[in-house]
Symmetry: C2
Subunit: 539 residues, 2 copies
């Protein structure tokens, strides 16, 4: 799925993707074979999957490795691929077989692309793939301690251990290493001989120097419309209604339109873009879809820039691949179901953390999540669709990588989304509802509020800057509504009470400034929350 | 995968499992078709999957729905199933077609089972399945507001809305409801006519009354060996080494052995049971495996009671199905990768929470996770294999459902595991390392410590019950080792310092007792942690 994300809008790219037979047992990989149904040969590059069946994982044979060629042919033909088998164990013959097969396949891919690009767009092609069967631990020790190693799961980890106590193991290791004939590969100074060194590709054709592998090099800023133009009118707080995500949809529509020529922005969702009320996107683009269409279908085309499949894993993988190759994206998801990709988020966040410190790696666009259809409003779905825990999962990551925003209304959502789409190398999590809701801030106030990330809402407070009797703190649209309703009741029943309302948009502001760059200083925190020093301390 | 978990060791059970074509796009479901490779017709029941292709999800056609019959036949033949198509839109004809197909299929399943059970165990059979193509919103309104509804994604949600303002919609709704001919189904009092009521199956054959759907009814206690018999000798704290999970493996082996006749205990793992050093299990059982085997294979057989597939989703789904039908299980997983099933854990925990309050539902066995190969010891794997965050995810759930244990050594792990295997209706998370590590408590001290869940380790403390200068608190095996090493250094450099060491096994003890039944009272907490009332308060 990552390879597929990488080749979207990259017509010249061929992403060769080697899949082990252990990995191939996982769910996400099992569905990702369907990604061919979303690749357009006229506009996207090609993915060449090599399913490498070496037959074993850590301690077991693999499910796919024990299937026979007939079963595998059925399976992958069914997934829509044309499998080429490369099988054997004699290295020289296998090299030739692989080289010949790759020549055939590359020609086949070119021919699919040429046909499609020369006006012959015929829909979903049958792309070739390789099924490579070779022994596990190939050319390693055949046996150790009388037990077979090459061609078994024993080759998965340390094939020869206990070198200190077992001299016969040292001999096995030496024989194995000598089988590479180092004397023919290196000169007397230990340098690779020039004849071999010259075989390496030059310049950008080296894998590590390919700019697609360091996507920040290719990254161009999005052309952004002025988000103020999408503002909803708020003449007085709490008097007008709007659906925040529907308002955002118009901004996303125009981001899509303004960057259509650059082909560097896509929106991803598990069949929920419309349900999450971002439909305005369909005024300017469609959903990319290569399977047959029927007259009843809407907004499906080979040229669409929205990607929808009912697999959060696939959306996440596509988006990661798209970002890592220097483009921009936006992923909207029901809040409860984003946990499906917790583990993928983990690994992407780790990658962002580590690469931030590698000088030659250029920052990539942030991974932007909009979590909507959130816990508070599951009017007809109920408990199964409720889970606000992704925020907890995210804030476990390092502070220089993650941002969490809880805009209280539509204008704040616009401001936050604009900021996120311009940002780099973060994971931004935005939580915002889609239902009609009261609006609080006009666009100027919203910008000011979101820029600070936290603020006292004076118009809702009654403390007039004096020490309050109560501080009411809220973050998120529904909690803000409920808090303001509570304030309203308090004011009715206790007209003399001094109340301060604090609203948090940027969740990181309430961390100490020593822990997060957005955090308030202790002084500002104490002042905002009216901390008395005879009261409970911050912790 | 849940259906498969339900029929393990239930030879008379046929689990019919209807899969929507939306769900079929998800990763976990895409790999779960391979579960046929783990079902033994001699000992397990059968799963009959009905892939229901109604063609659409919320807002799109489905990937599988738009595949043609030939592609689907390849795909499911490749997965190892024999697909039967039931396709059409005329209800009466479809009912007959479905009934006839089910008759054929049930006979085929019986014949596979009879062959296998009458001494003809021939390995992996080709089980039948149904591919049902019917219109979405079948028999609902054909069109609303001039747009087709039946047979389109529009039927996914509310097909007829705005009844207050659109009288023509009321007419559509009425015609639709009347199409069921209620006057033929109900008597004048609104009761179902007896002729129809009598069609319902009697007694346990009603789906809701089937004890397999209320597994607690079938649940029998495990026969448990005395876990004290597996204790490692600890003559003095910090002098002997043991591998905690290897010790646990011996206990699990004997649980497996003692319950072999009852066939109600299984161990699940994503190819990691041996890596997690629970190999002792293989002295008494194997891994269940129905694909072909080779002479080089070890511990694979049709009769094994350990289930391994490199899919945490599959392990989780199998285990849930097994527990929900009244059996016991144990899932060991690398700590970092358990996040893969965060979302499945969520839904199981919700189910436990809700059913705890439904009187007629009997408690089921707890879902036991052993998280090992943990964050602290990823000596050769590194950052990708590190993530301790599952605990955070788990403690978000209601206190009456989740338990988290961090045993500091092998004897504590034995005590905790014994407790978890006897417990009901919880999710138990045990985090424990597999590497050789110093041992602290003999078995009697371990039992005492784990029963309390938290305690002052007097042998490691120097406060002699007086007010300490420092309280050193640790939870988990490696943090305990590091804490004790720090205490050792402190004692060397500051011989007069009064140190108290507190070790936490049951993480829930440090929640307030008002929030968790295992929580300490404020008084006990203050006393244990030597809280001074001029110092920071608990929060």
């Amino acid at each position: 799925m990552h390879a597929c994300g990488a080749v979207f809008d990259n017509p010249d790219l061929l992403a060769c993707c080697v899949v082990g037979d252990g990995e191939a047992e996982t769910g996400p990989l099992a569905t990702s074979w369907h990604c061919n149904k979303f690749l357009n040969p006229t506009r996207d590059g090609a993915v060449l999957p090599i399913l490498h069946l070496n037959g074993y994982k850590i301690a077991n044979p693999t499910v796919l490795g024990r299937m026979n060629d007939e079963e595998l042919t059925h399976l992958f033909t069914g997934y829509g691929w044309k499998p080429y088998f490369v099988e054997g164990h004699e290295p020289e013959a296998m090299h030739q077989l692989m080289a010949g097969t790759l020549d055939t396949i590359v020609n086949e891919i070119r021919s699919i692309q040429d046909n499609a690009r020369n006006g012959g767009d015929l829909g979903l092609p049958t792309w070739p793939m390789v099924i490579l069967r070779s022994p596990k631990g190939w050319t390693g020790p055949k046996t150790v301690d009388g037990k077979p190693v090459e061609g078994t799961w024993r080759a998965h980890q340390v094939p020869v251990a206990d070198l200190q106590s077992k001299p016969e193991h040292v001999k096995i290791l030496e024989d194995w290493m000598r089988s590479y004939r180092p004397e023919e590969l290196f000169d007397e100074n230990g340098k690779v001989i020039s004849e071999l060194a010259e075989l390496a590709p030059k310049g950008d054709r080296r894998m590590g120097a390919n700019p697609h592998a360091n996507g920040g090099l290719l990254l161009r800023d999005l052309v952004m419309p002025d988000f103020r133009n999408y503002a909803v009118s708020v003449s007085k707080p709490g008097t007008e209604n709007a659906e925040a995500t529907r308002v955002l949809g118009k901004l996303l529509r125009d981001v899509m339109k303004l960057n259509a020529d650059s082909k560097n922005f896509r929106v991803f969702g598990p069949d929920e873009t419309a349900s999450n009320r971002l439909e305005a996107l369909y005024e300017v683009t469609d959903k990319q879809w290569m399977e047959p269409t029927l007259p009843v279908d809407e907004h499906l085309s080979h040229q669409g820039r929205v990607l929808e499949m009912l697999s959060e894993h696939m959306c996440q993988g596509w988006l990661e691949g798209y970002l890592l190759t220097g483009r921009h994206g936006f992923f909207s998801c029901y809040e409860a179901f984003i946990h499906i990709i917790d583990s993928m988020f983990n690994q992407h966040a780790k990658w962002l953390k580590v690469t931030r410190k590698i000088e030659w790696r250029r920052p990539i666009a942030s991974l932007n999540y909009l979590l909507t259809s959130h816990v508070w409003r599951q009017d007809h779905n109920g408990f199964t669709h409720q889970d606000p825990g992704f925020i907890d999962h995210v804030v476990n990551k390092k502070a220089d990588i993650v941002r969490v925003y809880l805009p209280p209304d539509a204008n704040c959502l616009l401001s936050v989304a604009d900021h996120c789409l311009r940002s780099r190398h973060y994971v931004n999590v935005i939580v915002a509802g889609k239902q009609p809701a009261l609006q609080w801030l006009n666009i100027d106030s919203a910008i000011k509020h979101c820029t600070t990330g936290i603020g006292i809402w004076e118009w809702a407070s009654t403390d007039n800057g004096a020490e309050p009797d109560a501080v009411m703190i809220c973050a998120g649209d529904v909690p803000t509504l409920e808090t303001l309703a509570a304030v309203d009741l308090l004011r009715q029943h206790f007209p003399d009470i001094r109340i301060r309302v604090v609203n948090v948009v940027d969740l990181m502001t309430i961390q100490p400034s020593t822990e997060h760059p957005h955090g308030l200083s202790d002084l500002d925190f104490d002042s905002m929350f009216a901390v008395r020093h005879d009261g409970p301390e911050r912790s």
